[in-house]
Amino acid sequence: MASLRYESQVRAPLVDGTKDYHQVTEDIIRPIEAAPTRSWWIGFIVALGCLTFGIISVATQVIYGVGQWNLNRTIGWGWDITNFVWWVGIGHAGTLISAILLLFRQGWRTGVNRAAEAMTIFAVMCAGQFPIWHMGRVWLAFFIMPYPNSRGPLWPNFNSPLLWDVFAISTYFTVSLLFWYTGLLPDIATVRDRAKLKWRKAFYGVASFGWSGSAKHWQRHEALALVLAGLSTPLVLSVHTIVSFDFATSVIPGWHTTIFPPYFVAGAIFSGFAMVQTLLLVTRKVLNLKDYITIEHIDVMNKVIVLTGSIVGIAYLTELFISWYGQNKYEGWAFAQNRVNIFSPYGWSYYLMMGCNVLSPQIFWFRKMRRNITVTMFMSILVNIGMWFERFVIIVTSIYRDYLPSSWSTYYAPSIWEIGFYVGTFGLFFTCYFLFSKFFPVIAVAEIKHILKKSGESYKDKMGPQEAMPVEEFAHEYTHAH
């Protein structure tokens, strides 16, 4: 048993302080059982306010049409699709943390996966709003689904990346939701069994599906998590690949590049981790979970940010190089004149993107910076601004000048309703996140207990440094583990 539990002393503990199983339950469940704090109410009401603004903006748009937005000829995609891609990108970190890091057996994922998965689901919900309401006649939105119909039967075009997107995003949402909720079941049962209040017992009783913690159920639960992780891993990569196909398979200069899929995926992970940092830095402070979301976790995520930020940087430079090397004059124009030229109408956004996404994350090469909360908070917001501008640069600077100079559009700036819609998705996102953090455990309680005796600070101290053990003794203990 002991050697199965062993983790190298070199690795920093993932749970700080002296904890036993009950203490873990207490620490994580207590905020659910306590009355909401004043800061929770303030945050929740602000989020609801933003959501209301969004609902009004969308309602206006449905009544008066997409003309409420400042989209024009040639800019048919503006803030709406920028926001869509941005939110989808943010929705990539959760499943990456829960699926890919599960397959790679990264113990640190346990502290952050639950909140990150929730963030994923809410971000994808926000992302989905944009293409749906952009349709204009939203009451016909179901036309995008393939089903035998009275219109011919007329089928959607299965060869179109836009339809692939419908499948990719709806599948991603469904699978992420299932993954998240099956993981939540044991923890909901923990809340249910501790509950004193009647409504709480009833509510969590329904939500727990009658989970008992039986050995056989755990065995199936583990198998399910592993296979879902195996399925979600290519799924995460496929989703943003397919989103990038929306652009890459077109013939618009600036979009028509084969580098888009890996570049979009790296960018998605980059922005997703930044958003996870923003949320968790606040969550760990407000809910007092510093022992579970440790500086170690923040450090590791900052490493992912500097890695993916640099991949994105290389992609930007490669793209730039190829636009020159390819000697296609339209492609060359899109880059040299519409983006790199700082005096062009949107030149500023290109440099904003470069500064936020490529230069600023390099600060995380320094350990001191990676472990500094203030710097991390500031950087996480900067990265998300940068990633928003990346999508804005890709979309708007590629289409605001087409092949016909007479149709080069007037300067595109969003209308109040476009801004309202975007603010509204923030409202939706944070309303959901506030409700989640109040009613569900933001940290996977069972998973923390699972790693507690291996990676908990107080247990690591007790474990003898196995490196000092003679080889024969180690081999003997290891082979006779149970």
């Binding site: 993954f179 329904v206 913690g213 399910l224 296979v227 496929s238 397919i242 069972a446 699972h450």
Partner: protein, 196 residues
């Protein structure tokens, strides 16, 4: 669905639980189940549980998704509504891969979760008997069924000898029923004066 008599042994340390399971099994007692607050690797083997075939089910669901996507798109493009798109092939396999992949994953994931819920008999509004409420918190609960061969007192004494920190006896319904966790009524309890 049956009401049976069980002896419930409570453990607080998995280092004690594992040898206890071994001893209980070799002594020939029938372990009804072991309830733990978190997954414990190796517990299923120690209890002699068969490996789950949930993965196989997932594979079958996945293949179903692949077949559905390929045959569906193929049928639409080749027989139901063949559109000539610039003379391109009606069997345009590379362009079908994204949707085929997504449906494979979707069918597999949804199918597996439903199968998981079915096998574990889990659903909203399902109510079960829980032997020890702290087995979702910090205790490990071993439940042994009383049979004709093994009496309650015998099992209790045995559990004590293998290190259980708390032991009690419970009459319990082994299946599930529809009910709320806010009410303590179980289906085998006699109702009071319902008709008054």
């Amino acid at each position: 669905m049956a009401v049976k008599k069980f002896v419930v042994g409570i453990f607080t340390d998995e280092e004690v639980l594992f040898p206890a399971i071994k001893k209980v099994r070799s002594a020939g007692y029938k372990i009804h189940d072991v309830y733990t607050p978190m997954p414990i690797h190796g517990l299923d083997h120690a209890m002699g549980l068969r490996d789950t075939s949930l993965h196989t089910a997932g594979f079958i669901y996945g293949i179903t998704g692949t077949t559905t996507a390929l045959s569906g798109i193929g049928w639409v493009f080749n027989s139901d509504w063949p559109v000539n798109i610039g003379g391109k092939s009606h069997f345009d396999l590379p362009a079908w891969i994204p949707i085929t992949f997504e449906l494979t994953v979707l069918f597999s994931a949804v199918g597996m979760v439903l199968t998981f819920c079915y096998l574990c008999q889990m659903a909203p509004f399902v109510r079960k008997h829980h032997f020890n409420l702290r087995s979702t918190d910090d205790q490990f609960t071993m439940v042994i069924e009383c049979t004709d061969k093994n009496s309650e007192t015998e099992i209790t004494a045995f559990l004590q000898s293998v290190g259980a920190v708390g032991i009690n006896t419970q009459m319990a319904e082994t299946g599930w029923w529809l009910g709320s966790y806010a009410k303590d009524k179980t289906p085998f309890q006699k109702e009071g004066n319902v008709l008054a």
